[in-house]
Amino acid sequence: MNNPLTMNRKTAQFLIAILSILSALIVSTLIIFIAGRDPIMIFQKMFNATLGSSYGTGQVVFRMTTLVFAGLAVALPFQVKLFNIGAEGQLQMGAFAAAITGALLPASLPSLSAISICIFSAMGAGACWALLAALLKVRFGVNEVIATIMLNFIAQGITGYLLTYHFAIPSTVHTPPVIDAAIIPSFHSITGMFPKSPANLSTLLAPFVALLLWFMLYKSRFGYELRATGLQPEAARYGGINAGMHRLTAMSIGGAAAGLGAANILLGYKHYYEAGMSSGIGFTGIAVALLAGAHPLWIFFSALFFSILEYGGLTVNAYIPKDIFMMIEAITILLVISFNALGKRIHQ
């Protein structure tokens, strides 16, 4: 509280977040209005269908969980000034790895080990995929934005090929389901909350992981070095900090977080891998991270916002075309990113 400068920065960040959400809402309202619908009615319907019902809340919780992980996947590399556009590909690789592992495990395995093995394989696959981009950056100076975008395409290609030619159940477009023991139980089956919704116990992992990463970043020596690398790489070198190593780890941790997001969808909900199941969540993750200023704890709020928007959009399908809502979501992401960039410029 004593220092005006840090306070200013924090308040500025907060204001930017609020402003971008507000302007997104205004733009949405306008678009809905132009599309010839009553915005108030649409927002009301959206609310009723999301937080207004327990099924809707379940849906929101489920999506929020994935988004928290996707947001962390972008936020961690962001702390060392790496822009991870590849959460999408990392998520896909993670999901595929979990699906194959889960299907191949012996059915007699106890649940806890089956779930852990599958989660670790998802995290491992995501981490490796991210590490690839980081290695290209650290070893050869390849721009990570381009590398991760390309790796997204490659991930899509690999999973698509393996699915179609090797793993899909004949005459379907999905893999065989994972063994029962590898399924993460839904909230409904355990507590009776959120009936029929895909919300599952992996949600409980989210705060745990976010807290862990927060501690790692802001309280540990490791995070002290990592953030220094991001802020002033040259000074870090003088201070005896191995910047390359921190770039590699930050990116891998990000990829592993994307893998956790994949586990939520695959082990908790779908139980098998099918083409197109990540549906751009990795990209929404970019907006989630930016809106939260890449802070592991604030990510919860921004993930909540985007999950309401996303699921809410689906529920009002009958009143407003899906394309319009896709547009609104993309505009919101764009606004969040623009406001962030603008805020940076003003602060310099």
Binding site: N2, M7, S220, F222, A235, Y238, G239
Partner: protein
């Protein structure tokens, strides 16, 4: 003559802290007005207010007797005010001429830039004010002095008649400083007004017409520079009398700690920066390296601290107590007991967005004494910070929450010096330009601490472009010219010649140019 800048009751508060309080000051048109004062006294803040970079909390600014309210430097520039910052704001990849017109192109978007006219103008100014710069040279290839000339040309091009210089001489060599002063005098004689912030009191007395002393956010006195002496100024600044000469008791050197033998440094492009460079530093002595910047100082530091860029060819040897440091990384070299204070501290030795305490820890964060679990031991850390802040009189309000970037320039410098001089168990201390940007009181403290470390038996390598500092502190002196030590003064010579300092400095000067 009239008043160029009049300040009435200016106050500036950051939170509850008053960086400037109730300042009233008149700067005469066509004069050089020096502003001196301790680190953190509020000099930069005051000039930033005049330049519209920050806005005052209270008070009025009058430019040419008209009240003004600048909300950005743009408006100040339009009112004929220019500022040369301590850290130049040029774009390294553009040419001098391009940098000069940047932001003021006098051309429409697609119109051809009036380059020819501009270059002629640059040449004309260059002749008139002694600002020789090649308009076509890329800025990254210019020396610091030349970069500064580009900054001044930029002001002239914008028709500034009030020019503010924040510590312009801190990074200049003595001859470049002399050159700058000639330019300043010419500018003044043509009717420009100059506000000059500096910590070097000799400079104030030689170039300024009027001098104002600031202390703790207030102006404590304004007087003609002719009417005051250096000790008087110093007393007004820090509130006590300052010893300009550090007491340097006879050294008692021990065994050799650092032995550099035939060191060669060849960049990836094949440019030879160091060759056949040899010297030794013994425990308990200060080995001073005198030289004009750009003769291999940076490369020597890089070689000794494992910072040479990939592709550099290092030959010869550099042994620390019999173990080679070449090919090791900074973390390993630190572990061998070496501490480095690099010359560009804001870029290499601090994290501007970290707090003061986090910065006091930077580079020392691997010391087990500060550890607790996976994090840091806040109790130890706080105690250490408090002690350093008191010892070095660092002006800051709350070390654990204040960002380093909000400290005054000199206090940022002191953080690095204090941190490195305080390192336990070191055998070699490498200091590059240790007193750059700090006030005379702090110079005294830092010099004493350096001597203290030497007396404890630390080997010290001192690289400085201030000959005064080199002669006052060193046990032995090597002169660096074009990448080698071309001459060495022995301990006896140094002790003897220290008594006639001016001649000694002249003699050193002969070896470095």
């Amino acid at each position: 003559m009239g008043v160029a800048v009049r300040l009435c009751g200016i106050s500036k508060r950051f939170g509850t802290f008053a960086a400037n309080s109730n300042i009233s000051l008149s700067v005469e048109k066509g004069s050089i007005h020096a502003l001196v004062g301790e680190n953190g006294a509020g000099k930069s803040t005051l000039t930033k207010i005049i330049y519209g970079m920050i806005q005052q909390s209270e008070g009025e600014v009058y430019i040419q007797e008209k009240p003004v309210h600048f909300s950005s430097p743009r408006e100040a520039i339009d009112a004929g005010i220019g500022m040369v910052h301590q850290h130049f704001m040029l774009i390294p990849t553009l040419t001098a001429a391009e940098n000069i017109i940047l932001g003021d192109e006098h051309a429409r978007l697609l119109q051809h830039l009036p380059m020819k006219h501009l270059k002629n103008l640059i040449r004309k100014h260059a002749r008139e004010f002694g600002l020789a710069v090649d308009p076509d040279a890329t800025v990254e290839n210019l020396s610091v002095g030349e970069e500064q000339r580009v900054e001044i040309l930029k002001l002239l091009f914008r028709k500034a008649s009030i020019m503010i210089f924040d510590e312009p001489t801190a990074v200049l060599t003595p001859s470049e400083t002399e050159h700058l002063f000639t330019t300043l005098r010419t500018l003044r004689d043509k009717g420009n007004t100059i506000i000059l912030i500096t910590h070097k009191l000799d400079e104030v007395l030689s170039v300024a017409d009027t001098v104002s002393v600031m202390r703790k956010g207030k102006i404590t006195g304004t007087m003609p520079a002719k009417s005051v002496t250096k000790p008087e100024l110093a007393r007004m600044m820090v509130g006590r009398s300052v010893l300009f000469k550090v007491t340097n008791p006879p050294p008692n050197p021990g065994e050799t700690v650092l032995k550099v033998n035939n060191l060669g440094y060849c960049t990836r492009q094949g440019v030879e920066k160091l060759h056949n460079l040899s010297f030794k530093v013994r425990a308990g002595e200060i080995y001073g390296i005198a030289g004009v910047e750009g003769n291999g100082q940076s490369e020597l530091l890089q070689a000794l601290y494992g910072l040479a860029p990939a592709g550099t060819l290092l030959t010869g040897e550099a042994m620390l107590k019999g173990r080679s440091v070449l090919g090791k990384n900074p973390a390993e070299i630190t572990l061998m007991g070496v501490s480095l204070t690099p010359e560009n501290r804001l870029r290499h030795a601090v994290i501007l967005d970290y707090t003061v305490s986090e910065n006091l820890l930077f580079g020392r964060h691997r010391e087990p004494a500060f550890h607790r679990g996976a994090g840091f031991d806040n109790r130890t850390l706080n105690r250490y910070c408090e002690q350093i802040i008191a010892d070095y009189d660092i002006k800051c309000t709350s070390p654990s929450s204040q960002l380093l970037s909000s400290l005054s320039g000199g206090n940022q410098q002191k953080i690095v010096l204090a941190r490195e001089l305080n390192r336990p168990d070191i055998s070699l201390l490498i200091l590059a330009q240790p007193t750059r940007g700090v006030d005379i009181g702090a110079i005294e403290t830092i010099h004493n601490k350096i001597i203290e470390a030497r007396t404890k038996g630390v080997a010290i390598l001192l690289i400085s472009s201030e000959l005064e500092e080199i002669t006052a502190l060193s046990t032995r002196i090597g002169t660096l010219y074009k990448g080698s030590i071309v001459h060495e003064f022995s301990q006896e010579e140094v002790t003897l010649k220290r008594n006639s300092e001016d001649e000694f400095q002249k003699e050193i000067g002969l070896h470095i140019t």
